[in-house]
């Protein structure tokens, strides 16, 4: 096996480029052929973890029960802004069954965020942590929380970004409420000139709501000390990130902290960071010398573990008569809560379309509301909603079909850096999607349908990063009986990582699927892989697994050459059988070969190769929506979504379709239903449960057709996977909004498009 080498590799994760020094293979394996010529890659394969999940035997962090385990819960601020004067835990401590309480009274100073600490006495939002109680049972812990007396001074608060930006607003930080003191700005070309010369201009304001991830499994950890070794079971998307945060917070070597996550009940981005609760549990566990389980409940989920921030976006677009998009100006602001975060949503404006003149100004504003966290394609569903609504308005103004308009302004090279793409099949996505939805039957005249229920059709474009990159590694162990175990330090959120890893090993080595075991989510055994966000898991991990499997094949051929006394060049590996083409008598299968060897196991490692220099890898797509709007009630019903995307290679058609369904349904929910509502008078959230925070149910599903226009992106990696988790959700809301306009002739510029808004808009029109 070849030696490794190190490169500086650029990878885009969630919102920014980062450059990392990474170990990459020196002998990159060539690209795979098309899926038609592969055995199991791209086929609809049932998940290998399906049995555990349907039988109820899958043990999630939430379910872990260690002997002598105690239970911890957190006391949180009930008000949006306050300074604690005194915390009296006396009564709570004397409650039978209470084992320990941690608060600013007794906890050591541990810095958290850049501006705060584990237990800060300055409470910046409803839900900010005040104290943590550990007790014999959760019920006792909860009772104890109620017995803690807090004396505090309530401070004036601001929960609205616009208000918070103003001079008169209460300051959450001395430097002011605009994060960084100024907006993020970007410009290319000459926007002012382009507007002067334009044939058509549209200008409007769009707003989007705060959305909460609300994965079904609440955030939770179980911690256990064994001497000075700490094991943490955590429901996380980033085992290595949690390890580093915990180790730093507790000032201990990372090697002494082990993070385990086997099964997790969803994340969607909210579990990309280590939570304070994990560190609190570790401190309490050490204090009482027992394992501790800490959970947050659904209400806390809706207050304190992140959100997709709101946005107010002022867009101005210009075009010439021939349909050239000549200028985009994007001004936006959004509330990021009491701690650093980001409310940017201008990436689509900067890079979705070819446009020579672009100007962006965006503000992330501190408010006394819950924190932001990356949520499935941060910034993009909101950015595309505004941009692609405005694009439709502009196309209408110059009397051009919006599909044609988008085709015409397709960027052949990346519009910001003028760099080529490793692959881009957006035009194919437009064409195939339009055909599948029957775009030519779209209303020419918006709102033309007779009767109270009106139908319409709309579309929107998608752009996102993808492609992943190094460092990302896998270890493959082959056992005496020919069974294999593949290990990677990544995690499966329900996205199908377990299954595609086994598929890859099967594809390369022909080991039966049921003899392949996949181990994920354990920092003690898994080689490093990036956290599971940004649709980077499959494109980063799959090439490493393939590399490990191909390396195993090389090793096996060498071993077989020695065993069969054949020349290596004459040996072929077919269906798990190695045979000598020069002598048909000479052949050996894997268990046979392994049996001859002294070693009980053979191990190989594999790594993700570097991304190609000078190229940009991105995912693209278009979604088309058919809706009907009941003009008597204002209710929007989505009848069909066609999703046509360029996401590189499909690894597993079954789990891929499912990912798309999920993303589209979350997009539909974002478009029509879900919204965190903050009472402006008290600064408190009114809908912290799953009935008032509305998400769709099974009866809300439209027909969904998923078309993948890409075969693979061979320039990007040896598997050519680009990633699909985020692309699925990005254009859905915008496509629905454009379809609604096409149905009723009235544009809804505010998400979610709830019946009350639609009804009022119709009655004011």
């Amino acid at each position: 096996m070849a030696e490794s080498k190190y490169v500086k590799s650029k990878i885009f994760f969630e919102e920014e480029f980062e450059e990392k020094l990474a170990e990459v293979p020196t002998d990159p394996k060539g690209p795979w052929p098309a899926n038609d010529n592969l055995k199991i890659i791209g086929k609809p394969v049932s998940r290998i973890d399906g049995y555990d999940k349907v039988s109820g035997t899958a043990v999630y962090t939430f379910d872990i029960n260690l002997p002598r385990m105690a239970q911890a819960r957190i006391l949180r601020s009930a008000v949006p802004h306050a300074k604690i004067k005194k915390i009296d835990t006396g009564k709570a401590e004397s409650l039978p069954g209470v084992l320990g309480i941690l608060s600013s009274n007794n906890a050591q100073e541990i810095k958290w965020f850049n501006t705060s600490s584990l237990f800060d006495t300055h409470l910046r939002y409803q839900g900010d942590e005040i104290a943590c109680v550990v007790a014999e049972s959760e019920a006792i812990a909860l009772k104890a929380l109620k017995l803690i007396k807090i004396e505090f001074d309530e401070l004036p608060f601001t929960v609205d970004a616009k208000e918070a930006m103003g001079e008169k607003a209460p300051k959450i930080y001395d430097e002011g409420n605009i994060q960084g003191g100024k907006p993020f700005e970007y410009a290319r070309g000459d926007v002012d000139k382009a507007f002067q010369e334009a044939d058509a201009i549209v200008e409007d304001t769009f707003d989007t709501q705060v959305a909460i991830h609300n994965p079904t499994e609440v955030h939770c950890s179980v911690v256990n000390w064994d001497g000075d070794d700490l094991t943490v079971w955590d429901s996380t998307q980033a085992i290595y990130g949690v390890r580093d945060t915990v180790a730093d917070a507790l000032k201990m070597p990372a090697s002494k902290v082990r993070i385990i996550k086997k099964y997790m009940g969803g994340g969607f981005g909210s579990k990309l960071e280590c939570g304070k609760y994990t560190v609190m549990a570790a401190l309490l566990a050490r204090k009482i010398g027992r394992p501790v389980r800490i959970v947050v409940d659904r209400k806390e989920m809706n207050l304190a573990v992140g959100n997709r921030p709101n946005s107010v976006q002022k867009l101005k677009l210009a075009a010439s008569k021939d349909g050239t998009l000549t200028a985009i100006s994007h001004y936006s602001y959004g509330a990021i809560g009491g701690y650093e975060g980001g409310a940017g949503c201008s990436w689509p404006a900067r890079q979705m379309y070819k446009c020579d003149n672009v100007k962006v100004e965006e503000y992330s504003v501190f408010t006394n509301t819950g924190p932001t966290r990356p949520f499935r394609a941060p910034g993009y569903p909101q950015g595309i909603f505004a941009l692609d609504s405005a694009i439709d308005m502009l196309a209408e103004k110059i009397r051009m079909n919006p599909l044609e308009f988008r085709m015409k302004n397709n960027a052949e090279k990346h519009p910001m850096w003028n760099a080529p793409f490793t692959s881009k099949l957006l035009k194919e996505a437009y064409e195939q999607g339009a055909k599948a939805i029957g775009w030519d039957k779209r209303n020419n005249q918006p709102g033309a349908d007779k009767g109270p229920v009106k139908k319409g059709m709309g579309m929107a474009s998608q752009i996102w990063w993808g492609g992943g990159g190094p460092p990302s590694h896998a270890v493959l162990k082959l056992n005496r009986d020919g069974s294999a175990r593949v290990i990677a330090g990544t995690q499966d959120l329900g996205t199908g990582t377990y299954t595609f890893m086994a598929q890859i090993v099967h594809e390369v080595l022909d080991i039966p699927m049921d003899k392949i075991e996949v181990i994920l989510g354990d920092t003690a055994v898994g080689p490093y892989c990036p956290s599971s966000g940004g649709s980077t898991t499959a494109p980063s991990v799959s090439p490493a697994v393939r590399d490990a499997a191909e390396n195993m094949k090389i090793k096996l051929l060498e071993a077989a050459a020695a065993q069969l006394e054949s020349e290596k060049k004459n040996l072929v590996y077919v269906n798990g059988l190695i045979s000598d083409t020069s002598n048909p008598e000479k052949k050996i299968d894997i268990p046979g070969l392994m049996g001859k060897m002294g070693e009980q196991t053979i191990t190989t490692t594999g790594s993700r190769e570097a991304n190609p220099e000078g190229y940009i890898t991105q995912t693209f797509g278009a979604q088309f929506a058919k809706v009907e709007v009941d003009t008597l009630t204002g209710k929007i019903k989505v009848n069909k979504i066609v999703a046509a995307h360029d996401i590189g290679r499909v690894l597993n058609r079954k789990t891929l379709d499912n990912q798309f369904h999920g993303g589209i349904m979350q997009g539909l929910s974002y478009a029509l239903m879900e919204e965190q509502i903050v009472d402006i008078n008290t600064g408190k959230v009114v809908n912290t449960n799953l009935h008032d925070y509305k998400i769709p149910i099974i009866a809300d599903i439209p027909e969904i057709e998923v078309i993948i226009v890409s075969e693979a992106d061979p320039m990007n990696s040896n598997t050519g996977v680009k990633g699909c988790g985020e692309p699925a959700i990005i254009p859905t809301a915008a496509a629905i909004a454009n379809a609604v306009y096409n149905a009723i002739g009235v544009r809804i510029k505010s998400l979610p498009m709830t019946p009350d808004k639609v009804l009022m808009a119709l009655n004011q029109a």
Partner: protein, 201 residues
């Protein structure tokens, strides 16, 4: 890092670096630091509950305020039943009570007195999956799987009531179960396939 160059991305990337502890000494635990209160015991108010769980008769003492889900998960260690909202608003805790689907998080355990409860674990025949469970694997009616036990039980309840349900009936019967991963199209497919499968056999 000054607040100026904070971006959310950096924040994630630096979660390690951004957190600076101030002098936390790691001590090896001595027996003395171990805190132990009396072993958890049932209070005086505990009441005997006798019922059947997955065909096995069971009697145990429960606190009156315990929900059925509490008892299943904490006392009987049947953690296949999940709790997601603890408020009767999501369906993850769905079990069968005398053959009908109920939310175990939203009823008192004592209300199951004398009744028969079936949980996801009770659908199995030894190691073998129930046909509804098989259908969920085959048609990928799940992603993270956390809502799945509840979905499977809801589907089973429909089939107990009517072995030949139409698609509309299935949609109605499954509409008390949320899936945040929104694997709904495949959940529906799985439930429809389960019905077809049961009718064939």
């Amino acid at each position: 890092m000054s607040p100026k160059d904070i971006s959310r991305r950096k924040f994630i990337k630096n979660l390690g670096g951004g957190v600076v502890g101030a002098g936390v000494a790691i001590q090896t635990l001595s027996a003395k630091t171990r805190k132990e209160s009396k072993p958890p015991s049932k209070s005086d108010s505990a009441v005997a509950l006798t019922f059947t769980v997955n065909k096995k008769p069971i009697t145990l003492l429960v606190e009156p305020e315990s929900t059925l889900a509490d008892v299943l998960r904490n006392d009987l260690k049947l953690t296949g039943t999940k709790v997601v909202c603890n408020h009767g608003e999501c369906g993850a805790c769905t079990v069968l009570l005398d053959g009908r689907a109920v939310y175990s998080c939203h009823m008192l355990a004592l209300d199951a007195q004398g009744k028969s409860v079936t949980t996801i674990e009770g659908l199995m025949d030894g190691e073998k999956l129930h046909p509804v469970q098989e259908a969920f694997v085959e048609h990928d009616g799940l992603q993270c799987g956390f809502c799945t036990p509840g979905q499977v039980m809801a589907a089973e309840a429909i089939l107990i009531k009517n072995p030949k349900p139409g698609k509309e009936e299935i949609i109605e019967g499954m509409s008390g179960n949320l899936c945040r991963c929104a694997a709904y199209p495949n959940i529906l497919k799985s439930a429809v396939a389960a019905a077809e499968k049961l009718n064939k056999s």
